[in-house]
Each structure stands twice: as C-alpha cells, then as structure tokens.
C-alpha cells in the first residue's frame, strides 16, 4: 500500500507553521502560548490584507489590525469548540473574515434606516442591464423580459407584507442580510428563512401562471 501525501497537504502543514491542529488548540488554550498567538496573528493579518485590499479604500492596515485583534479574542474564547474538520488556520481565517465583514457592513449601513432604503429605491429609475446575455436573440430577450416582469408583479401581488418589504429592500438596495435583519428586528438566519419562503411561493406561482418549469427558467437564463 502506498501512502501518498499530496503536495498541497504537505504544504498546508508547513503553512500552519509546523503545528498540527492539536498543537494549535493546546497552544491557544490556557496558558496561552505567546509564540503561537503571534504566529496566528501573522497568518490572519496576511489573509485579511489580501481579502480586504479591494474592499477598503483607506487605512487598510489599521483596519486589518483591529479586525485581527477582535478575531483573536473570539478565537481564544472559542478554541475549545474547534472540532478539527479542517486545518486550524482555515477555521481561524473564517472567524477573522466574518469579524471584518460584519464590521464593514455595520459601518456602511449604520446610519441608513429601512425607510431611507425604501424611499431612495422608490425614486430610482429603471437601471438598464449591465450584462446582456450575449447569445440572446430578440425573441429570447422578449421571453426573458416577460418572465422578469412576471416575477416582479408576483412579488407585489403574492407575498406577505413582511416578505415583500424584506425582499424589495434587499433587491433594491443590495443591503447585506445581517444589516437588513438588524433593521427588521430579526436575525440573519430568520431573514434567510423569510426570503426562502418568499422564493418558494414565487416559484410555485410562476409555474402556475406562466406554465414554465423552474428547469426551463434556468435554461432560459442559461444557468447550468
């Protein structure tokens, strides 16, 4: 029997600064190893610098330092919950990315009320398509357009007020889930469920009204 350890796997172990998952967990549990903490900080800073480079216009380094600091506190607090399904550093990077995005989204949307979002959207003109389907014939375009118009009509006629408010705010402004959830007095998971229920209702009614199956809609918009 040949035991083959792929290059990526070996490289992954080296990248984790020669620590196994168990060693990371031990080193970051009380008493915390300052050396391990410093190594993890380096990994997280490097990762976030790259991930946020195109998303933050100014003070990237200072922001990343703050996010990593907060992420390290969360990681130290929850290190015992790591179950080893991935490399430890991937789990830690996930926490850091989540901390950074949560804060960036909060800053972007904190002074904008739900009412502002709806009112601003109401005043907007119909935005022309940025990406036209290159294979679209005039006939295909007409069919796509009629399906889109039907879905928009169904949003207004078939959903509950709560579903419609949430969905239109999300679609018209692009507000992220957790920020919209907070403004609606709910949480990200419950909001996803609300919108999932709305999508299910729309899918059913779209099929009943137009006779087009979900599969055909996917084909129509060429999603494989």
């Amino acid at each position: 029997m040949t035991l083959y350890l792929g290059y990526d796997y070996v490289r992954g172990v080296i990248e984790d600064m020669q620590r196994s998952n168990e060693e990371w967990v031990t080193a970051l549990s009380e008493p915390v190893s300052e050396e391990a903490l410093g190594d993890l900080r380096q990994i997280l800073v490097r990762g976030l610098m790259a991930a946020l480079a195109g998303r933050i216009n100014s003070e990237l380094e200072a922001n990343v330092e703050d996010f990593v600091q907060e992420a390290l506190l969360k990681i130290l607090k929850s290190v015992g919950t790591f179950r080893g399904e991935s490399r430890f550093t991937t789990w830690a990077q996930k926490v850091a990315v989540h901390v950074a995005f949560t804060e960036l989204r909060r800053r972007r949307w904190k002074d904008i009320s739900l009412q502002d979002i709806i009112e601003t959207s109401e005043g907007e003109e119909y935005t022309p398509a940025i990406l036209k389907d290159p294979r679209a014939t005039p006939e295909l375009e007409v069919t796509q357009q009629s399906v889109m118009e039907l879905v928009e009509d169904l949003i207004h006629s078939e959903l509950t007020e709560k579903q419609r408010t949430a969905l239109l705010a999300a679609l018209q402004s692009g507000i992220p889930m957790e920020e919209l959830a907070q403004k609606l007095g709910t949480n990200r998971n419950a909001l996803y469920k609300l919108i999932h229920d709305a999508r299910q209702r729309l899918q059913k009614r779209l099929m009943e009204v137009s006779g087009i199956s979900p599969h055909d809609v996917m084909d129509l918009f060429e999603v494989k």
């Binding site: 792929g6 990526d8 490289r11 992954g12 080296i14 990248e15 990994i43 490097r46 990762g47 976030l48 610098m49 790259a50 991930a51 946020l52 998303r55 399904e85 991935s86 490399r87 550093t89 991937t90 789990w91 990077q93 996930k94 990315v97 989540h98 950074a100 995005f101 989204r105 959207s121 109401e122 907007e124 003109e125 119909y126 935005t127 022309p128 398509a129 889109m148 879905v151 928009e152 239109l168 679609l171 018209q172 992220p176 889930m177 957790e178 990200r188 996803y192 469920k193 999932h196 999508r199 299910q200 729309l202 899918q203 779209l206 979900p214 599969h215 809609v217 996917m218 918009f221 999603v223």
Partner: protein, 81 residues
C-alpha cells in the same frame, strides 16, 4: 418602484433554483472552513455538503464571505511558498 434589471435577472434564477429544504446562514457558516479546505485540497465539497454549496449560490452575503475566505487562505499559502 423598480428592481434594477441585473438584480432582477439574478433573482429570477434564484427563484427557479429554490429548493424545499435549504441550509440557513448559521449552518453554512458552521461548515464554511471545512468546505473551503476541501476545495483547496482539490476535492469536491459539493458532493459532501450540497446544502452549503447551494446556500453559497443563493445568499450573496455568505457567498461574499466565502470568496474572501478563499482569498485569505491563498494569500497565506502564497506567502509561504
């Protein structure tokens, strides 16, 4: 009140792609590191975690975080190689 056309186009696809059972944001986040690592190792995480894969297509907030996570992992790898 109109929805931007490109947004509406993407949403119509999501409506068509809606499944009776879908994972929520919490479930997706719980498995995201596992999903990312499998992808990095050249495996197909969608086979083992189809609900997470589907959620990432349906939820732009989770999808955005996943893309950033992959960028972060790759940056850490490139710095070492």
């Amino acid at each position: 009140m109109r929805i931007p056309e490109e947004t509406l186009r993407k949403f119509v696809v999501k409506v068509a792609n809606t499944r009776p059972e879908e994972a929520g944001c919490d479930t997706c986040f719980e498995h995201l590191h596992e999903f990312a690592d499998m992808l990095q190792k050249g495996e197909d995480p969608a086979d083992l975690m189809p609900l997470v894969e589907h959620h990432l297509k349906m939820c732009s907030s989770c999808g955005e975080e996943f893309d950033a996570l992959i960028e972060a992992i790759e940056a850490a790898q490139n710095a070492k190689s």
